[in-house]
Symmetry: C2
Subunit: 228 residues, 2 copies
DNA sequence: TCTCCGCTATGACCGCTGTCATAGTAGCGC
DNA sequence: GCGCTACTATGACAGCGGTCATAGCGGAGA
């Protein structure tokens, strides 16, 4: 079995998350990652297959080998990767907080972007958003990939909210609102070349989010684990 | 002066808004409008110049005549048109409300989209978002056009909020939040082929918006409308 | 050694895109 | 009629896109 790499698309194993930089994996994984990077910068249409291979320092011939269904497959996997990545980040954001609150989680989610924009410029956006804008109408498989990505992301956030004590019925709506606001603010931020919209979202939405957890202050009562 | 049409790009006159359907204007105007329509469906990259001319039933030769700076100019004007359109709709939304409230305005803004999606399917999104995703990095003039569009739109909404009694300092942030949430929810809605994210935004954000106007209940003081 | 197979390497094809060049038409002032 | 101007009509071009076809490599197993 030399084909250790070369199979990822499946449903398990998932993610090794491949940190945003370095972390050399197999060529296939690098191409998916590079595709996501390029798509989020320039959109799907302006991202070429040859360009992806070059960016991943992968041989061009591997494209048709690993992605026999062509660009659509590559894009779909890039979107899937992004969805898993976003979902898997949520627990880390929580871990980074002194004590988990909805507003704190949202603040961390946004901070990832403000940090990037302030250090690397406003070059990139969300690859899922780009794929949705460019492919939702023409490539249904890509649209489904985007839907799955949003669903996974939302699920992770909603789960975190319930763990914080947010009532079950409000978790998903609030998670959706958080992601909506974040995605929209990303667009505005890129257009304005300013993080204003992002910080505004945090500031204005924070209180609303925290108000969703019954008791604002901890009382260590009934051992709130709120298993799902 | 037969050249009645053929000059719009300027700063005044502006908008005749050209209702979403019919309303035959000059070829130039139709091309800008068609460009916006096609861009919001398929993105900038997947929208061809010839396609725009065909969709507008305008002669192909007119492209280089009206838009000597090529595609970038056409896209920029389409984005500008969208920004003016969105801004000019705000007063109409207010007029359609029995009594103006922030949540009512937001609800109307969103309803425009849910109506479209329910009657015409999830084919289209916001052209400004598409232009931002596809061009923000490569074409700075387009990025600026998008920024201007968002600014105009935000200004209109913020102005409406102040008119409803929202304190000056909170109007812009809240307007930005409204547009952020709307744009993000549009993405999710298209990906999911469901208006869920849109209605969720209205439901969850409504109370927050209304809470921004000082007295929630009427007291008949300084001639405020705002009763409920 | 021979064979198989995962992977790589190119080159070619065809369709499409934005843009340019050039020529043509229609209407108006004179 | 002439000239001028606004607009239209085509054809060509150069470039790039994704995809296919075909061939080469290199290690593992028999």
């Amino acid at each position: 079995m030399t084909a250790v790499i070369g199979w990822i698309g499946g449903t398990l194993d998932e993610m090794r998350e491949a940190g945003m930089a370095g972390a050399e994996r197999g060529p296939r994984e690098r191409m998916v990652f590079s595709a996501a990077q390029l798509i989020r910068r320039a959109g799907v249409g302006a991202t070429g297959m040859r360009e992806v291979a070059a960016h991943a320092r992968a041989p061009r011939g591997s494209l048709q080998h690993y992605f026999p269904d062509g660009k659509e497959q590559l894009v779909n996997e890039a979107v899937g990767w992004a969805g898993r990545y976003a979902g898997n980040r949520v627990p880390r954001f929580l871990a980074a907080l002194p004590e988990p609150t909805p507003s704190g989680l949202f603040s961390e989610m946004v901070r990832q972007w403000t940090d990037e924009y302030e250090t690397e410029g406003f070059e990139g956006g969300c690859p899922v958003a780009a794929a949705t804008v460019d492919c939702a109408r023409t490539a249904d498989s890509t649209r489904q990939a985007a839907e799955a990505a949003f669903t996974r992301w939302t699920g992770a956030v909603a789960g975190a909210l319930t763990d914080m004590g947010v009532p079950e019925e409000r978790s998903r709506p609030l998670a959706t609102l958080m992601i909506s606001s974040l995605e929209g603010a990303l667009l505005i931020a890129r257009a304005e070349r300013s993080v204003r919209a992002l910080t505004t979202a945090v500031r204005e939405l924070g209180p609303l989010l925290d108000a969703a957890v019954p008791r604002p202050a901890a009382d260590g009562g009934t051992g709130e684990a709120v298993g799902s």
